[in-house]
């Protein structure tokens, strides 16, 4: 009985995801980036990337209760790893104009030599996984000392780590690898992703980033709903009880940290893919705070919430509130008020209101399926007698 229901739910979830991806694929074909609705594509791309970033942060901060602020650092590692290993040979010297590029190996290009278009796709996938793996490796290295720290100290240490990484990647001595303070470009990017079937060119610019985010978030959901996810929650709720019940704290905190960082790395890589550039200076701690806000907005401890929070955040800041900066908002023309910077003011006020008055966020700790499920309530008092 229990099993058939969960199987049915799994199928429903799978079909819903499939329908969503199909819709994205169709939108990718019918909307041109230059259209009035072109903004929607950008919101979908960036929203997907930030959704993944927020969900991976939620895995650590929301589910395991480890308050880490190193997310931008791990995303940077992912973005650079991905970019470095997908810059085609012929563009490399132009990208690294002041340095002698050390890595001369584009994974998609190498594979496409043997396998054509499929090789390119496979190479991009490998580069994405490598991006996650590099972030995960660094997480493992700093996790050993850092995860012993309690709450605030962990936040400070991880924040410091992210800033060090950012400085390091701009250091000219590492230029042959990171291109110093110059940006990386011309690597495999979303705007170039196309599928050619029988002469017809189908755009994948939005579909691919959304697909990457969807698959990654699905993996995180699988982890959260597994016995490990329950152990993470136990650590968050009461660490002493968790340890007394046989949960190895050091090991499980490490698993959560490394897993979260892996997906942060993938999110960073996908962000580079969407933005077509990778530059260390974009991965400031402000980015971590933004992601944290999306998590809080959606509800700490809710994956659905993180996803909704991210899309709302991106849509509001990139699209709906745009007019606040450019003179015309909701049909009101007031160039003196609605000008550069006003959007950020309004945005900050909205966020403050949400954080002050809707502390639970949009979803609290609920997930999408909870909204459809009627809670069977056994009155405690009755059952007692």
């Amino acid at each position: 009985m229990i099993q058939t229901r969960s199987k049915k739910n799994a199928w429903l979830a799978f079909l819903a995801v499939l329908a969503f991806l199909t819709l994205i694929f169709v939108l990718d074909q019918v909307i041109k980036p230059t259209d009035r609705l072109g903004m929607l594509l950008i919101v979908l791309q960036k929203g997907a990337v930030y959704a993944l970033a927020a969900v991976s942060m939620n895995l650590l901060n929301g589910y395991t209760g480890l308050f880490s602020l190193g997310h931008a650092g791990f995303m940077l590692l992912g973005a650079y790893t991905y970019a470095i290993f997908t810059i085609p040979d012929k563009s490399r010297d132009a990208v690294y104009q002041y340095y002698d590029a050390a890595v001369r190996f584009s994974i998609p290009e190498q594979l496409s030599r043997h396998m054509g278009g499929f090789g390119t796709a496979l190479g991009i996938l490998i580069a994405l996984i490598l991006a996650g793996a590099v972030a995960a490796l660094l997480a493992w290295l700093i996790g050993l000392p850092v995860l012993r720290l309690k709450s605030d100290y962990l936040a400070i240490a991880t924040l410091g780590f992210a800033e060090i990484i950012r400085a390091l990647f701009q250091w000219s001595k590492l230029g042959p690898i990171t291109n110093g303070s110059n940006l990386l470009k011309n690597f495999a990017r979303a705007s170039k992703f196309k599928l050619e079937i029988a002469g017809a060119k189908l755009s994948l610019s939005t579909f691919v980033p959304v697909l990457i985010a969807t698959v990654s978030i699905a993996l995180i959901v699988l982890i959260v709903n597994s016995t490990y996810g329950r152990a993470f929650k136990a650590i968050r709720d009461d660490e002493i009880a968790a340890e007394a019940m046989g949960i190895n704290l050091a090991k499980h905190k490490m698993i959560a940290f490394v897993t979260s960082s892996f997906f942060a790395g993938v999110a960073g890589a996908t962000l580079a893919m969407v933005l077509s550039i990778a530059q260390a200076n974009n991965f400031k701690s402000a980015m971590t705070y933004e992601i944290l806000l999306m998590v809080v907005l959606g509800g700490i401890g809710s994956i659905t919430g993180s996803v909704i929070g991210s899309f709302l955040f991106v849509a509001a800041s990139e699209w709906w509130l745009r007019g606040l900066d450019s003179g015309k908002f909701l049909g009101i023309e007031a160039p003196n008020i609605f000008r550069n910077g006003f959007r950020l003011v309004v945005f900050s006020v909205i966020i403050m209101i949400v954080v002050l008055f809707f502390r639970q966020g949009i979803m609290g700790e609920k997930e999408l399926p909870d909204l459809f499920r009627k809670k069977k309530k056994t009155p405690v008092k009755e059952a007692e007698s």
């Binding site: 229990i2 099993q3 993996l219 699988l222 982890i223 597994s226 016995t227 490990y228 329950r230 152990a231 929650k233 136990a234 968050r236 709720d237 009461d238 002493i240 009880a241 968790a242 340890e243 007394a244 019940m245 046989g246 949960i247 190895n248 704290l249 050091a250 698993i255 897993t259 401890g301 700790e365 069977k376 056994t378 405690v380 059952a383 007692e384």
Partner: protein, 284 residues
């Protein structure tokens, strides 16, 4: 009974916090199948003794044997070498400081004086998590549900356990929404889910009315039989203690002042002075 194997043996354990000696040269043992009580006034060091036995604190000095093996050992070293106030400073040489989860894996499980249930989880999940330590899966096999058979088996066992402890009806409730007495029961059930050989209960009847205490007394007796565990309990309810304990240890200011079967303890002058007299006053 005297020929029974020892499941737990505590030797000369001293626990010193700064200048406070919370437990002072405690030696005690628990044989297989026994119910042993630790009693004493508040602040006597009972909970601290539990914390040493279960690995929460490394003792300042002393040794703990569990199921035939030395699992905890320490001697005053480092800064403590000079400030140590206890005895037998030169008796032990090794340092063995396992974490609580390691001892739980060996077969110890405990409850807490201040209930520590996982507050965002249901009654069912609180027990299910206690099955995590016996898993055969890793992160990948668990995420991709290769451990499905194990999970189903765990869920069945949790359901059975809930039936035994009488919380089946409440399985989908949040653990913390339960009335106090039932939360205590759930905490015991959670500990049992780890399949312990030794169960340590820290004031399981605290805050219960006489009827609930009566039920708990029966429940603990039933657990010993059904789950084949030895039990150490800290308790202030004298009826309960005298009723179900095979032997009793009495602590006062960190020191063992008496031990013996319930009749001996009831008649012991020192115990009456230090503790029982006080309890009677307080209860009347």
């Amino acid at each position: 009974m005297t020929e029974q194997k020892k499941i737990l043996s505590v030797e000369h354990v001293t626990m010193q916090f700064g200048g406070v000696v919370a437990v002072n040269d405690l030696s005690m043992e628990v044989r297989e199948g026994e119910i042993v009580a630790i009693i004493g006034p508040n602040g006597a060091g009972k909970t601290t003794a539990f914390n040493v036995i279960t690995g929460v604190y490394a003792p300042t000095n002393g040794r703990v044997y569990f199921d035939g093996d030395c699992v905890v050992e320490n001697h005053p070293h480092g800064k403590m070498k000079k400030s140590y106030l206890g005895e037998y400073a030169d008796l032990y040489k090794q340092v063995k400081e396992p974490t609580p989860d390691q001892l739980t894996k060996l077969g110890m499980a405990r409850t807490f004086q201040n209930i520590r249930l996982w507050k965002s989880m249901t009654v069912f999940d609180n027990i299910l998590v206690a099955k995590h330590l016996k898993r055969s899966s890793n992160l990948f096999s668990a995420a991709f549900r290769f451990n499905r058979a194990e999970e189903e088996n765990n869920r069945r066992e949790v359901l059975e356990l809930l039936k035994i402890v009488g919380l089946e009806e409440l399985k989908d409730e949040l653990a913390t929404s339960l009335p106090y007495g039932k939360q205590r029961r759930l905490e015991i059930a959670r500990a049992l889910a780890t399949h312990p050989k030794l169960l340590l209960l820290d004031e399981p009847a605290a805050g219960m009315n006489p009827q609930e205490t009566q039920e708990l007394t029966q429940f603990i007796g039933q657990i010993r039989k059904d789950f084949d565990v030895s039990i150490v309990l800290i308790e202030h309810h004298m009826d309960l203690v005298m009723d179900i304990s095979d032997r009793i240890y009495v602590l006062d200011f960190g020191r063992l002042i008496a031990q013996g079967v319930p009749e001996e303890i009831r008649a012991n002058e020192k115990v009456i002075d230090a503790y029982l007299g006080v309890v009677d006053d307080a209860e009347n």
